[in-house]
Symmetry: C2
Subunit: 311 residues, 2 copies
Amino acid sequence: MEMNGKAGEALKRKFKEYAEAVEKAILSYIEGTGTGTVLGKAMEYCLTAPGKRIRPSLTLAFCDIFGVDLEIAMPYAVALEMIHTYSLVHDDMPCMDDDDLRRGRPTCHKVFGEANALLCGDALLNRAFEIVFEAAVRDGKCGAAAGRELARLAGSEGMLGGQALDIANENTEAPADVLLETYRLKTSALLDCAAAIAVELARENGRYFNSSKEEFEKAASAAVSFTGNLGLAFQIKDDLLDITGDPGMLGKPVGSDEKDSKRTYVAAVGVEKATRDVAFYTEKAVEAAAVFGERGQILRWLAAELLDRKR
Amino acid sequence: MEMNGKAGEALKRKFKEYAEAVEKAILSYIEGTGTGTVLGKAMEYCLTAPGKRIRPSLTLAFCDIFGVDLEIAMPYAVALEMIHTYSLVHDDMPCMDDDDLRRGRPTCHKVFGEANALLCGDALLNRAFEIVFEAAVRDGKCGAAAGRELARLAGSEGMLGGQALDIANENTEAPADVLLETYRLKTSALLDCAAAIAVELARENGRYFNSSKEEFEKAASAAVSFTGNLGLAFQIKDDLLDITGDPGMLGKPVGSDEKDSKRTYVAAVGVEKATRDVAFYTEKAVEAAAVFGERGQILRWLAAELLDRKR
């Protein structure tokens, strides 16, 4: 799966450029938002935590692939990262995973208290959609359609549905297929947003893969197939790293992660099959990206990068 | 402030018709949403709780006043009620007001657990915006603008900002002006949404108050002046009813409400001045509505109705 050195380096640099552009844009969006208030400070604290910015960077990558100007894409990409961030804030709360640390810093509720963390998550979700509506006033119907997909995939039939399944699976012997469906929702859905945003914007603004309706729909479904499979590979790899990757976790039984009661795919199928499945879903993602030819190189690089990651 | 009997009855019936139409629309929107899942059940449980549906009904009333078809307005009105509902779900949680009952039934977290209540609130907010985006795909830029106002007024510079101020005011001697600002955000902002939705939709679809840009902007600012003042009257009245209206609260000290640590306007200025202020802000709301002439009758009726309410 390795990219040859030079090409790999160039793609890595490209992805880093996307991430840096996102970083800058996020800062510009929170400037002046609730400055001075506890809520504003909490939002800023969470949004400036060091992160890989994978989802918004992937959004920009897809927009480049479809030939949508990054200037058009940026507010949607920022909104996606805000939604990801809010989900982490709520996920860390005592009634959920009860985590003290996130990205190496104290979690939001540890710093600002539970009530403010709850409101901070709500406010980040609100702000995300406010940004998208503002962009849709400019972009018209394709912007509203991108927003609709974002809300759908982040909602009860997407990410939130997956988080609810995660809770329902606790302390059960949930089988592999239920866990895959859980991962498809709780992890793949937000990656699907990256593809969906690019696709909806490209319907009106794209320069490539639009010679016919058929070509466009083929490219659109390939994009979501890429992210869906990437999400599964990513989440199963996460489970494996919880067991093998973190020295602090050594000695914990197979299948445990941050919360012992959580049911993971690795616990259901074992380390060996899970390891093979990471490679399998990565391969499926890479196959889906074939439709994009040369323009899709960065997708193949990202899939390989995530497959090989050590944490 | 009383309306003469017959006219008052007709307006009451009209408002009830709005509320019933909203009720029906809400049910149609949650049909099939996560059916069978705990999350879907929790959302349904919260959305079907008996409520007055004041905010969405007021949205329809404003749309009628501006001459916007109610069919166009309905998804926005439903979304506003969903946002109100999510805010109650999160507000009732142990880390916030820690309430066991809401509208006479056990609160969401009492029935479904804290983790699911947290996700349920998130999902209601998501679903609200999904509905608005879907409508904006149909309605174009004015729909996106209505969504933007909704997200702005519900967010960190609107309702959520007010809830955060509420927390900051706990166990303090916060003065009257700080409390009024808190009420303006936590209560008036969602009522302002009703006005803002109608105004944004009316920019493209309204049949009245549009003979000139000047006439329209005057009507638009009157609408928000009405809701802003109505919200203050409503919230201060709420404080007063907490002391005088509920037999269960008799004997509790002035200024206490569901949570003893909460700082209220009544505690800051006393019952007499607070009572006068309810009348004062109601009067200001009614004055603002004068711009709408005959078409604004229902606004005057609603202001009187809320002023005279016993609970």
